[in-house]
Each structure stands twice: as C-alpha cells, then as structure tokens.
C-alpha cells in the first residue's frame, strides 16, 4: 500500500504544518477580533455579551474550538522544534552577521516573537478563556447572558495587564507581518499576479488586527467604554 512517507517529517512538510495552522489561526483572529470589537458599540457590553454567548454555546463553534486548540498546539510545538533545529544547523556562529542587509528583523525573529506570544497566551487564556469555559462568569447582564464584558472591564483596570496586552499586540503585529505572506509562500502560492496582492493584504491585515486588539484594553482602562 502506498503511504505518505515522510511527507510531514521532511523540511517542507514541517513548513506545511506551520503554514496551514498559521493560516487557520489568521482566520480565527478575524472572528475573535470582530466579536471583541463589539465592545466599541459602547452599550454596557450587551451586544458583546450576545456575541460571547453565541461563541460559548453554538455547537459548531465549540467543535471548531477543539480544532483551534489542536492547531495552536501544533503551531507552538512545531515552531519551537523548528527554532531549535535551525539553531543546531549552525553550531559555530558568525563573529559578524549583517542580517539587516538582506532580511527584516521580524522575519529572523519569529521564534522569539512567537515565544513572547506564548507567554501572553498563558496569561490571556487564564484571564478569560478559563473563566468563561471552566470556572464560570459570576454575573449576568440585563439580557440574562453571562457578563463577560464585566470580567473584561475588571481585568483591564490592572495597568500592568493593559501594558502586557499592548506589548503582546506589538509582537503579534510583527509575527503576522512575516507570517501572513510566508504561509502562502510555503503553500507554494508564489505567483507574479497574486503575490503582490497577498503581501499588501498581509500588511493591512496585521496592522488592523494588532491595532484593534490593542485599542480594547486601552479604551477600557481609560474609561472610554462603559
């Protein structure tokens, strides 16, 4: 019987896993960012809580959440493995290495940026995901939905968390700036007609996602949103 052989363990296969899971996470961020941006309706979180309630109860979303977690873990584990393997591929380092002459610093720092995001994710998931899925949200809003908005509001009264979140979105910005177009290249989608468009969309996507996310803790801490 024919098999896939070393399709996933080869260097190209490992890239493929990073690319596919990365693109899936890019799609997830759009949904996550849109739902969260409902706080900007500024109606005491009623609209946002409807969104949060839907995300927490819809079976299709819950099933996707499992895929998301598996994809996220794959992306993290594979990314860390690749980083260490790639460091081992050059045991003796250069005395002088002029990286900025030929590539972007964030393209060369995906392992570091990813690790910063991992640290952020541990804090972030314990702030919200663990509360909404496991330990329970203490209060309800006027519509009778779990008041995730109140949890958010309370979390972002802590200035250190606000700083952490904003810095993490800086890491996310640069991680995406490289990751978006890189994923398409890995999938083999390098084309004179499409690649310039993909690169432009990647830049706009990264900026919009990072800025909108970073605006949330800032707006809540500053009291723009009630």
């Amino acid at each position: 019987m024919a098999s896939f052989g070393n399709a996933f363990s080869s260097s190209i296969g490992k890239k493929l896993i990073m690319g596919i899971t990365g693109l899936f996470l890019i799609l997830f961020l759009i949904v996550h960012c849109f739902i969260n941006a409902l706080i900007f309706v500024n109606d005491g979180g009623l609209t946002f809580n409807i969104g949060a309630h839907f995300m927490a109860t819809n079976w299709l979303i819950r099933a996707s959440e499992v895929i998301l977690m598996v994809g996220l873990l794959l992306h993290i584990i594979q990314g860390l493995r690749l980083t260490f393997q790639n460091q081992a591929a050059r045991p003796e380092k250069y005395a002088v290495y002029d990286g900025k002459a030929n590539s972007k610093w964030y393209s060369r720092s995906m392992g570091l940026l990813g690790t910063l995001l991992l640290i952020f994710l541990i804090v972030h998931l314990s702030n919200f995901w663990v509360v909404s899925r496991f330990t329970g949200i203490p209060t309800e809003d006027a519509n009778g939905h779990e008041d995730l908005f109140a949890v958010m509001k309370e979390t972002f009264q802590n200035v250190w968390l606000v700083v952490l979140y904003v810095l993490a979105m800086g890491s996310l910005l640069y991680h995406l700036l490289h990751g978006f177009a890189s994923a398409f290249q890995t999938l083999g989608w390098n084309h004179k007609k499409y690649t310039p468009l993909i690169k432009a969309i990647g830049v706009w996507y990264s900026i919009i996602i990072a800025v909108v996310f970073a605006a949330m803790p800032i707006a809540m801490y500053a009291g723009f949103i009630n």
């Binding site: 024919a2 098999s3 896939f4 052989g5 070393n6 399709a7 080869s10 260097s11 190209i12 296969g13 490992k14 890239k15 493929l16 690749l82 393997q85 790639n86 081992a88 591929a89 050059r90 045991p91 003796e92 380092k93 250069y94 005395a95 002088v96 290495y97 002029d98 990286g99 002459a101 030929n102 590539s103 972007k104 393209s107 060369r108 995906m110 490289h178 177009a181 890189s182 290249q185 890995t186 999938l187 083999g188 989608w189 390098n190």
Partner: protein, 256 residues
C-alpha cells in the same frame, strides 16, 4: 606588486583543520590598490605570509570571473561581501574605504564543515544533485534542437534557475543554514522543461530527502538567500519546489 594607497586591517578566520578550534587573526595590509579584486588582495597577503615563513591562508577559488561557484568568503557579515549580484572574486577593493577593518569568515553551517581556514566542504551539494538533479536520456544522436517546442517564457524561467553556480551563499547567509534555494533551483531548472518531466516527482522527493539528511536547517522564508544570491535566484523556485513536493506526496500514487 601592490601599487595602491589603501591601508586595511583584516580579521581572518584561521583554523588548522576540521577538528581544531579556529579564531580570528589580525593582518595589517598597506599599499593595497583599489583596483585589485578581493582575492588578489588575499594573494598579496599570502605572498607576504610565505615570505615571512608563515602558513598561507587557505581559501577556495577557481575561475575568478564569477561563474564557477568556488569562492566563498563571508565578508563583514555578508556572503561575497557588500555588493549585490557578484561573487567574492568579482568584488574589488574600491568597494571599501581606506582604513577599513574587514572581517573574513568561512561559510558557517553544520552541513558545510570547515576544511581549513576559509575553505569549507560543500560536497553536501554534490550529494543533493546526485540524488536526482539529472535527467536520464538514451544515448545516440542528439535530438534536433527544435524537436520539442518550449515557450520562450518557460525556457527563460528554467534558465534563470539554471544560473545557480552552487556557491552556497544562500546557506551561508540563511539564519537557519537552509539549502532550500539551492535545491529548489536545481529542481526548477529541470521541472520547467519537457526533458525533466519523466522524473519530476521522483526527483523532488529524492533531492529534498538528501537535503534533509545532510543536516541543513529548515526554511523560514526570510528571503535572505534571494537577496544575497550572486546569480539572483528567486524565491519563486522554493515555492515551485514546495508545490512539486506536495504533488509528489499527496497526489502521485508512486512511492519513492
């Protein structure tokens, strides 16, 4: 022999053999002509070393006109030095300033072990080629040149990939010491021509497997290889290799 007016400080990697620990050694150079090539400056230095009874610096070189792929110096943090689209032998001393300090190191990668000083063992590339970078043909008379029509666009694209001289600058500059640009160029030059089709999917699998076995790192699409390649080999080749690899692994029923 030198008749110029440049004074330079060279910091050159000296390493006795593959096992020994190397280090950077300072050499003061005076009266260097700006019209000398970088390798000619090394010839002058080696003559001085020989006259002093010291061991000359070992470095790879052959054609000295940028087509053989032998020269391989990592100069001030960049392969083949500061200029784009040239090899070390095509680099001239006028690209530097009087009084400069120039650091010269060998290519550094696990798959390219240092033989001595600035010379590294690049036979890993030969083994990647031997794994599948060829076409099998029947012996006999050469076919008529126009027997197989090839669109100009495709012939040009194949030729651009074939311009790779296998110098290893891509591996040297890649932060992961990945050989994907080299391997993809060697795959692409054949994958785009009719003669390369019968072995196309076998070739990509064998060559990628050999590349991995040699201990090169994994590509992370930083684009450093493309920027430093003396022959301007494009990242498009890596994407094409990826596509062919997926076709071979996930579409083709043939196992390699």
């Amino acid at each position: 022999m030198s008749t110029g007016n440049m004074n330079l400080t060279l910091k050159v990697w000296r390493q006795k053999n593959n096992k020994a620990k190397g280090n950077l050694v300072d050499y003061k150079m005076s009266e260097i002509s700006p019209d000398m090539s970088f390798l000619e400056m090394f010839d002058v230095l080696n003559e001085q070393l020989i006259n002093k009874g010291e061991e000359p610096i070992v470095f790879d070189h052959d054609c000295r006109e940028g087509i053989c792929g032998a020269c391989s110096m990592y100069i001030n943090g960049r392969p083949h030095g500061p200029k784009e689209g040239i090899t070390t032998c095509q680099l001239h001393m006028r690209s530097f300033q009087d009084g400069d300090t120039i650091v010269v190191e060998p290519w550094r990668a696990k798959a390219f072990p240092v033989i001595k000083d600035l010379a590294v063992d690049r036979t890993a590339f030969d083994r990647i080629i031997a794994a599948g970078g060829f076409i099998s043909v029947n012996t006999g008379n050469a076919q008529d040149a126009n027997a197989l029509p090839i669109p100009k666009f495709q012939a040009d694209s194949a030729f651009e990939a074939a311009a790779c001289i296998g110098c290893g600058a891509c591996v040297a500059t890649c932060k992961n010491a990945s050989a994907m640009l080299f391997t993809s160029a060697k795959i692409s030059q054949l994958a785009q021509l009719p003669q390369g089709q019968p072995e196309r999917y076998r070739r990509v699998q064998s060559m990628v497997a050999q590349m991995d076995a040699e201990g090169f790192g994994n590509c992370t699409n930083t684009g450093a290889c493309e920027a430093e390649c003396p022959k301007g080999i494009s990242l498009e080749n890596i994407a094409r290799m990826n596509r062919d690899f997926y076709s071979a692994k996930f579409v083709s029923e043939e196992e390699v």
